[in-house]
Symmetry: C2
Subunit: 499 residues, 2 copies
């Protein structure tokens, strides 16, 4: 490697201010990425009076947010109007405690606190942007509405152990958009606001390095446009909102190799550049091994009356948990073979079974037949079912504490085993590790000192969602939009102070 190569700026090495040949662009706040975090940051910065320039590597807004269902996890303050209308009261402390539990052993309590305290305002903000929510609640446990309905159970709120520590309430809010794909609708609404507000947007612009002082104070970005390196100066700050790293398979291997087992990485760009850019000036990346994994095995919700087993015929989770929590545990089991055992009363064709490659593994008039057809050791599956049925009869599940409403002996033939094996079914995954940030999006170094001029939001950061076992649908968009807003405001304030 030549000296010149070593000096070359990259994702891993900032361009020093002294190396900048000329400033091609200038703005108060530079935002990198036009997903929900970048859009929210740009909007709030602009409205705080900042001149905002947003760089997006693709030709359109949306990012990975637009691939989602558009759900946002909201509650507290007695409930959003939609929660209240559906008859729920959601105490802020219950909401907070659920967020902390969901964050796992390294939960960021300050972020949980801030979001719980401000969530009523955040809901109003979303509505003010033009995001429509229908005043409706879907009682059945689903993954994402195929209608234009709003409120749903999108986590493990009613399931052990969450239900023991926080009063359950449904908190997934899906925009009023007919069919799946509410994420695209949400992003279109936010993008329209971004354009209306006068944010300048440069598409097909790949940020390839930060520009920083020798002390790593960030002053801008190098952005490749039409094959040419251009130099953009940020008077206030740079907001990295460039997604996670699930599409960077090498990076996944280094930090979260378990996620390589899941066949369906959910991302657009998500090449890890946001995290790497932050690290290049000393930003700390934390919880890098954590990710979201799911196989959406329900609806219909009667499948929850079934039991999951691993290839040793053992149960491993209370099946009334959020599908992602169940799937996370499935991935931790030794071996690839995972089944859902159902009887005639609980069986249903999984709504998304075909799409995610859930197939029929075996059928039988007795559990012995199913066990034999699956080629499981005689007595393994059958003893698990016998023990489950013995307690289900009494409305109990002393092993895993599945809720009583789902407990009924699996005793009505024919019996079915749905095949959810890891190496065949499409377990979906994205990363949850990233830059450590303050509640205002300031990027921390490993001693939690902030790096001047640098902000981040969304999956480039390690935010509210940071634990595969705790994730609930809507948490990532909640985190991206709310903390994106805060990062934008803080960067704009820095620009104002610098004037």
């Amino acid at each position: 490697m030549s000296h010149a190569d070593r000096l070359a700026y990259s994702r891993s090495r900032p361009c020093r201010v002294s190396e900048v040949p000329q400033w091609d662009f200038e703005a108060d706040v530079l935002v990198v990425g036009f997903g929900s975090a970048g859009a929210s940051a740009a909007l709030e910065a602009r409205r705080a009076g900042a001149d905002v320039l947003l760089f997006e590597v693709t030709a359109a807004s949306g990012g990975t947010s637009a691939l989602s269902g558009g759900e946002i996890y909201m509650g507290g303050h007695g409930g959003t109007p939609i929660q209240r209308h559906a008859g729920f009261s959601d105490d802020t402390e219950d909401f907070y405690r659920y967020l902390v539990m969901a964050g796992g052993p390294n939960a960021d309590e300050a972020k949980c606190r801030a979001y719980a305290d401000d969530c009523a305002e955040h809901y109003q903000w979303l509505v003010a942007q033009g995001v429509r929510y229908k005043n409706s609640f879907i009682k059945e446990r689903i993954v994402e509405p195929v209608t234009d309905d709003c409120l749903l159970w999108s986590g493990s709120e009613e399931a052990y152990p969450f239900s023991e520590h926080a009063k359950p309430c449904p908190r997934g809010h899906t925009p009023q958009w007919m069919g799946m794909g509410g994420g695209k609708y949400l992003m279109d609404v936010l993008a329209e606001q971004v354009n209306k507000a006068g944010v300048r947007v440069q598409y097909e612009a790949r940020v390839i390095a930060l520009i920083a002082e020798d002390d790593n104070t960030v002053r801008g970005v190098v952005v490749k446009i039409d094959g040419v390196d251009r130099y953009a100066r940020a008077r206030g700050g740079v907001v990295l909102a460039a997604g996670g790293f699930i599409m960077n398979r090498d990076m996944v291997k280094k930090h979260a190799p378990m996620l390589l087992r899941a066949q369906y990485p959910l991302g657009t760009v998500d090449d890890g550049s946001g995290v790497q850019l932050g690290q290049s000036v000393g930003g700390a990346a934390i919880n890098m091994s954590e990710g979201f994994v799911t196989l959406p095995w329900y609806p219909p919700e009667r499948l929850i009356r079934g039991i999951f087993i691993n290839e040793r015929g053992q149960r491993f989770i209370n099946e009334d948990c959020y599908h992602g929590r169940v799937s996370h545990h499935a991935l931790q089991q030794g071996g690839n073979r995972i089944f859902i055992l159902l009887d005639a009363d609980s069986f249903g064709e999984p709504d998304f079974g075909q799409h995610f490659k859930i197939t029929i593994g075996a059928t039988g008039d007795t559990w012995d037949e199913v066990e034999a057809e699956l080629d499981l050791p005689a007595g393994s599956l059958t003893s698990t079912v016998a023990l489950y049925n013995r307690y289900a009869e009494q409305g109990q599940d002393p092993l895993f504490r599945k809720g009583a409403k789902w407990l009924k002996p699996l005793a009505t033939p024919p019996f079915v085993a749905l095949d959810c094996r890891i190496d065949h079914a499409l377990y979906t995954t994205f990363t949850m590790g990233g830059l450590d940030t303050s509640i205002d999006g300031e990027v921390f170094d490993d001693t939690r000192r902030t790096i001047p001029g640098l902000y981040a939001a969304g999956r480039t950061t390690c935010g509210l969602p940071r634990w595969g076992e705790g994730y609930s649908s809507g948490m990532s968009l909640a985190d991206a939009t709310y903390f994106g807003r805060r990062a934008g405001k803080r960067a704009a304030a820095a620009a104002n102070a610098a004037r």
Copy 2:
């Protein structure tokens, strides 16, 4: 934070060469840390003609290596003299394959290859330093000899799935030292050589920052001695061998929070400074979530005939695996309660039971009594034992594939459950994530470009051992000594080239 604070060098920010007031020390190679990695690096650098200065933060040599049993994992090439004498032939490819399996989903094949290929030479090198090995083999499965014997089964070589892919061979080589604590002996031998070779050693010297050019080429270290910052120049390179980060609880929480559950962090300094110093100039830290966890529950080895269960009465591992692999899985089970079930034929008082707080959880003349005394759901423990016994009778374990020699029904009363609960027993732990390095100890950035002037070895790096499920006793010292040597040689070569 003031501008001055931001400019201040630290573990997280290098001192720039332009900031160095004067050079207080100079050497060809600077080594940070006097454990086995630092000692090996210093020795080889010195013998390659380099002037070597070693900084050690404590008042003595040893580091965490001196807390260990001194075992080194060695094999291949038909076997070391001790393996051969004990009747084993160990093919290099079997050794290599075992190392790769032990490394898990992000194994470093280049490191496995290099160590497997060079292991015969490394054995001779250790002997040449004066490390004595008695020509003896301990057949029984133990953790560490209390005698001066050498060779032992120190991993999962004979256990599924390892045994399917690599012909089993015992590879743990313990120095000839009466009693436990062979690590102290090993370090004393290496330290004597370090002194004899003419390595300059400065004790009570805390390296607080790297010194680097603006392009992050490393030129030296800032070292605090008697409260004063001193500036040390490295003509060839700096070798970071400052241990892992298990004693930095904040860092463990950010990267490997699961390890916080283990009550007994095994470390001396191990404050993460090695990893942080490397990151401060762009070094990539990988696999940071991985760690070693163990509760040394055997010997006596007849305990292996027992079965481990979690608090749902379920088995979770073939119990003939290495104690660390079993313990790793114990930690992954939901809940804190973990038991070993034994009958009169398999029971024995664990040798280290008192030290590590393994206690009697329950006894009974029937398994029903034990189940009730442990307050486990009726039918949970008993159905697990019934299924296990049914197959053990035939010499089989279709669920977990424990080896036939350990299989015997647990059917002779009285029955015992040993209590190994996570929140009480002393599960020991250290970290295995760290700087990504070449086989010559060159520190990589996140695109695997080397950082000029910077080398690392031992638990400051992510080396051969990097997966809690795969660790085997002796792997960390093998990695530290062998790759420590290579790092020292490479740094010395850089110094020679710079002359």
